[in-house]
């Protein structure tokens, strides 16, 4: 991991994965890294520990099954690849081979959301619903590339499995200064304090939420931005305190299907706790196969770009009790 970086700079989450795993490989002689032919991210680990780097080729199901066998045998396996395939083709292996026996397998990958020009075969937009449904699975989505290393590091001592979702991972905005926030799996981050409304988000759209909050600030509104980077277990307390402290005005923004992801999880917490909200809007991908285009164009086209986010915040802020 680079020693220094600056807020707003771009950093490759992929390089963070590789360098962090290489460091962890030294500390944990039982750490294995597996990939179904998506090893470019992992060269640092591969070169340092060739005997603990397993590239199975195009075989996601066996990749997860083999990781399970390694974990049964007392090892710490990390499976890294493209999430559309790890979360769907290997879903049953993740559920049956990893989650059922509650093994410490880490699944980390790129291409969460509408990341670029791949088309719908290459977009992981259902993954948070699917992974979130699995008993024992911890589900995360990380936007700040510098966080990736710390989360991987924390995950080494976890008993059960974890899913770590990244965007494309090539150029990600640094969101936080080192040490600015305490990172704890299961706890959200208040990225910006505010009192008029809360926008909850995760992953690559945190940067967009911060931009939207800046626009609202220039209009005299104070918007809280919560980076809910752990979706499961969800930080229930932070949701409830945000409802109380920001007038019950919520917008949820995510690069995922609008139903089944973070918005659904927050709605569950709200309903289970009998909280009455003043306003609730969810911004995400509607039930469509999204087509081609750049990330930003696709978000605009499907109603969850920056302008839509600002508009949604204005609506909830003006909503009456």
């Amino acid at each position: 991991m680079p020693a220094t970086f600056t807020f707003g700079e771009m950093l490759s989450a992929r390089s963070v994965i590789g360098t962090t795993l290489a460091e962890l490989g030294d500390e944990h002689p039982n750490l294995y890294v597996l990939t179904p032919d998506i090893g470019a991210t992992l060269v640092e680990f591969r070169d340092a520990f060739p005997d603990r780097f397993i590239d199975v080729g195009l075989a996601e199901q066996a990749c997860v099954g083999i990781a399970s066998g390694l974990a049964y045998d007392g090892n710490i396996p990390v499976v890294s690849g493209m999430l559309p395939f790890l979360s769907m083709r290997a879903l049953e292996q993740v559920r049956t081979d990893v989650c059922y026996p509650n093994l410490p397998v880490k699944i980390i990958g790129t291409h969460g959301g509408l990341v670029g020009n791949g088309g719908s075969t290459h977009y992981a937009v259902e993954d948070l619903t699917l992974m979130g449904a699995l008993t024992n699975m911890t589900v995360t989505s990380i936007g700040d590339p510098a966080m990736v290393g710390e989360v991987l590091r924390q995950s080494m001592t976890m008993e059960g499995p974890i899913y770590i979702r990244l965007a494309v991972g090539k150029k990600d905005k640094v969101l936080y200064e080192p040490g600015e926030h305490e990172l704890r799996i299961g706890k959200g981050i208040i990225a910006r304090q505010g009192t008029d409304a809360t926008i909850f988000t995760h992953g690559t759209t945190v940067a967009q939420a911060l931009d939207a909050a800046d626009q609202l600030a220039s209009e005299g509104h104070s918007v809280r931005v919560v980076d809910m980077w752990t979706l499961k277990p969800i930080d229930e307390q932070l949701i409830l305190s945000s409802a109380a402290e920001t007038g019950g005005r919520f917008v949820v923004l995510e690069d995922h299907l609008a139903y089944g992801g973070l918005a659904t999880r927050i709605a569950d917490v709200v309903a289970d706790n009998g909280v009455h909200l003043t306003g609730f809007e969810r911004l995400g991908i509607p039930q469509v196969y999204a087509g081609f285009g750049e990330d930003e164009q696709l978000r605009d086209k499907h109603g969850y770009g920056l302008a839509d986010t600002v508009a949604a915040l204005r609506r909830v802020i003006s909503a009456q009790h």
Binding site: R52, A59, A71, T96
Partner: protein
């Protein structure tokens, strides 16, 4: 490769003794099937009875008194629906109590159900049941052993029907690519799926050649001839060799009970008291016939 058995004082069983133990396993299977009112996968249990007896009583280096011994051989039941056969084979070997199995099987809070669960029954090595999952898990265990230069073997029992799952062949390639000579797969080749005879619906043949084409060491045996099973286990290449081995064992679904043999109705079922007597009589008759 000769290794010190975990139970060093125990002499290895003769073929005749193993045959007796396999008979005992079948009897116990039928008794469970006669007392439990729900379905037992009796057809595929009976086809695997000789293989599992040979593994737990002869081929595998295991110690029921020391479940977590790192030197133990590992066993993954990929055909998870044969869980009852495995439970009872393990009970006869001393891992589990047959009385407990019979008394609680399939009941609320029992450790024993239709497919094995590692969390509920720590004595088994892996949770399985969904077909096509066991061999990848076994590959992972074999890789782990290699990583520590351990000499133990990892055994895996598959049904031939489940080798219709693509994940099996992914694992077959991974095992060869990673030179896992410490991995031994058995295929219980009973040639029956749940609702059809295999070659009617799915062409598996030339079956052993498919494994050979993937670079495995292939041994073909009669899976009900104990001397052949023992010979195959005795003839395994050293666990530090490069080539994984598959033992393709020709078997009969329902083996030992004439009205169950090669009968699609007996993939799974339960026996009432009258049918239990009939089944035990048939089992005894088959034994007499074979020993004559």
């Amino acid at each position: 490769m000769e290794r010190t058995p975990l139970t060093a004082t125990e002499e290895r069983h003769s073929v005749e003794e193993l045959e007796d133990l396999a008979f005992e396993l079948r009897e116990k299977l039928l008794h469970l099937c006669g007392t439990y009112e729900g379905a037992v996968h009796i057809g595929g249990d009976l086809s695997a009875a000789d293989i599992l007896t040979a593994l737990f009583e002869y081929g595998m280096n295991v110690d029921p008194a020391d479940l977590a011994n790192p030197e133990r051989d590992r066993f993954v039941l990929s055909k998870g629906h044969a869980a009852v056969c495995m439970y009872i084979a393990m009970a006869i070997r001393g891992f589990l109590s047959y009385d407990d199995i019979v008394a609680t099987y399939g009941q609320l809070d029992s450790a024993y159900g239709m497919h094995p669960c590692k969390v509920q029954l720590p004595g088994v090595e892996a949770s399985t049941g969904s077909l096509g999952h066991g061999l990848p898990i076994a590959v992972g265990m074999a890789l782990g052993a290699r990583g520590r230069n351990d000499e133990h073997r990892v055994f895996c029992l598959l049904g031939d029907g489940e080798t219709g799952e693509g994940s099996v062949w992914e694992a077959v390639m991974a095992a060869r690519s990673n030179k896992l000579g410490n991995l031994v797969a058995f295929v219980d080749r009973n040639r029956q799926l749940m609702t059809s005879f295999a070659e009617e619906r799915v062409v598996f043949e030339p079956y052993p050649d498919k494994w050979r084409a993937f670079g495995w060491n292939v041994i073909e045996i009669d899976g009900h001839d104990m001397s052949q099973i023992v010979a195959a286990l005795d003839g395994l290449p050293a666990s530090d060799s490069d080539t994984p081995t598959v033992i393709v064992a020709e078997t009969v679904k329902g083996k030992g009970v004439d009205f169950m043999e090669r009968n699609l109705a007996w993939h799974a079922g339960s026996l009432g008291a009258a049918d239990l007597e009939r089944a035990l009589t048939a089992l005894n008759a088959s034994r007499v016939k074979e020993t004559v």
